[in-house]
């Protein structure tokens, strides 16, 4: 009875939390498993199985366009998410830990990229970039993606900083003289979950972007979403499923690898 009592009081085991999380994950993965199945389809359909084969994987590996587009997308997302995370972290430190004048206005500017409809950002950037003589290509994509990723990185990081106890940092300030050391030893490790959340959000937002990329890409910098949308005209084939499955596989490898690394650390 006493045992039951403490269990019920342990907030960590709120009823239904585990079940909801499991359902959420299952819901997110169900369509992925479904489309992975059809990547092995021998036929051209993405919803009717005509036998199994690696036909569409061979097609992906033989297709320079789609492979190059996938690489462009990942590279772009890594660069944009990293740049946005660094800038957003700096901004969040200033906004949460320091006295900033016109805080509300600054906050609005930091989140401004969220508010603009994508097609408008795309067209405005296209016109602006060509007006200032910046050619279309990977460089313009990096600039545009970094810009619209900033709020996606900023909001989780700022949320983390706000909920983080500033006491530790203050205590550290009493002990160490140098703020940089204090930041590296205390603030940064505490901030880590926020940084990871912010970076991951910025990464998936950049990876998924289609409208802005389609307007700002130049020769040789087509991204995967742009390529997939352009296939609609002639019909989606399981080749899209195959390339999507390979992306999932790549990301799963990253997850496993980081799991191994963190295990070694602990």
């Amino acid at each position: 009875m006493a045992l039951l009592d403490t269990r019920a009081r342990d907030i960590r085991n709120l009823p239904g939390v585990g079940v909801t999380a499991a359902l959420a994950v299952a819901f997110l993965y169900a369509p992925i498993l479904f489309l992975m199945l059809y990547s092995f389809n021998d036929g051209r359909s993405i919803s009717r199985l005509d036998g199994l084969s690696f036909r569409w994987y061979r097609a992906v590996f033989a297709n320079e366009e789609i492979g190059g587009a996938a690489l462009n997308s990942v590279l772009l997302a890594v660069i944009a998410a990293s740049l946005a995370t660094v800038m957003a972290t700096a901004a969040a430190l200033a906004m949460v830990r320091m006295r900033v004048r016109r805080k509300a206005a600054t906050y609005a500017v930091l989140n401004f990229p969220l508010m603009v409809p994508e097609i408008v950002t795309a067209i405005a950037s296209l016109i602006f970039f060509s007006a200032i003589g910046l050619g279309l290509g990977f460089g313009s994509l990096v600039i545009a993606h970094t810009t619209f990723c900033i709020p996606f990185a900023y909001l989780p990081i700022a949320a983390r900083l706000t909920s983080m106890d500033a006491g530790l940092e203050v205590a550290a300030a009493d002990l160490y003289a140098r703020p940089l050391r204090r930041f590296a030893l205390i603030t940064l490790p505490l901030l880590a979950p926020g940084l990871l959340s912010g970076w991951l959000l910025a990464f998936i937002v950049s990876l998924d972007d289609f409208i802005i990329s389609s307007m700002l890409s130049g020769p040789g910098s087509t991204t995967l979403p742009v390529h997939i949308y352009s296939m609609l005209r002639l019909g989606i084939t399981p080749e899209v499923n195959a390339v999507s499955s390979l992306m999932v596989l790549a990301s799963a490898l990253v997850v496993i690898l980081s799991g191994l690394i963190s295990r070694r650390k602990t």
Binding site: A90, L110, M115, I119, P151, R160, P225, S262
Partner: protein
Amino acid sequence: MKLHRLLLAPSLGTILIFMALPIALTTLYSVLTPAQHGGVIWQPSGEAYVRLMFERDIFDDTLSFNADYLQILGRSALQAGFATILCLLIGLPTAWFIATRPPAQKSLWLMLVTVPYWVNLLVRTIALLLMLRDEGPINGALQSMGLTDGPLPLAYNNFAIGLGLVSSFLPFMILPLYAAIERFDFSLLEAAYDLHASRWQAVWSVILPILRPGLIAGGLLVFIPGIGSYLAPDILGGGKTLMLGNLIGMQFQGSRNWPFGAALSTVLMSVTLIALILVARRAAREAA
């Protein structure tokens, strides 16, 4: 230069130069005249804003009230609210679950949530539709098990749109919430438990202040992009309605009326901007 200015300069500078400046230009487009094949003619006109609320009679040029665009705005805002609530209901327990895992597992779980997002949203949404529809595997399984006689109407309705919205936005709620509640000191809560009589009192007094920044962040990240999103209604809802996102897209594409597209987007941005500043003011007051 003060430290806080140095810290803010890169992000503010990037946004002001590469986003605000170009957008200011397109805002200017909203008071110009459309060119025949897209683009604008540099001739001032207020027609785009008149059109938001009024319909011009083709014969005698008189104006009459037209609620079409207000309806679309309302529907889009409703969709965004719907998405936010659904994501909150599912995202909060999930974030809580992840935050209470042993330290080594937390970031693994977090990445696990984002792995599906390596697949393009369009492809994921189509896969979801193929699963849900009459001839899909879910209805197939239900019927072969003898649980239902005919196909359940899973696709092409609000239920399907809801699922699509959750699948579009869930991590935008989970990740900020997780960032806020991770390493929450649960002994605080247990102490609160001993002091307060009820469990909910404990939850409200101790957890809410920690949760609030995450709720605000997640809410903004789902609600604002939710207003402009249209893939879920287009594909899962059968494409029978227009959302603000495709209405604006249409003006820059097939309808070739850039000023009207710019006017719609200007109105949308102004409304969200005002709302955001109110949120920020309130948050600042509470923090002070």
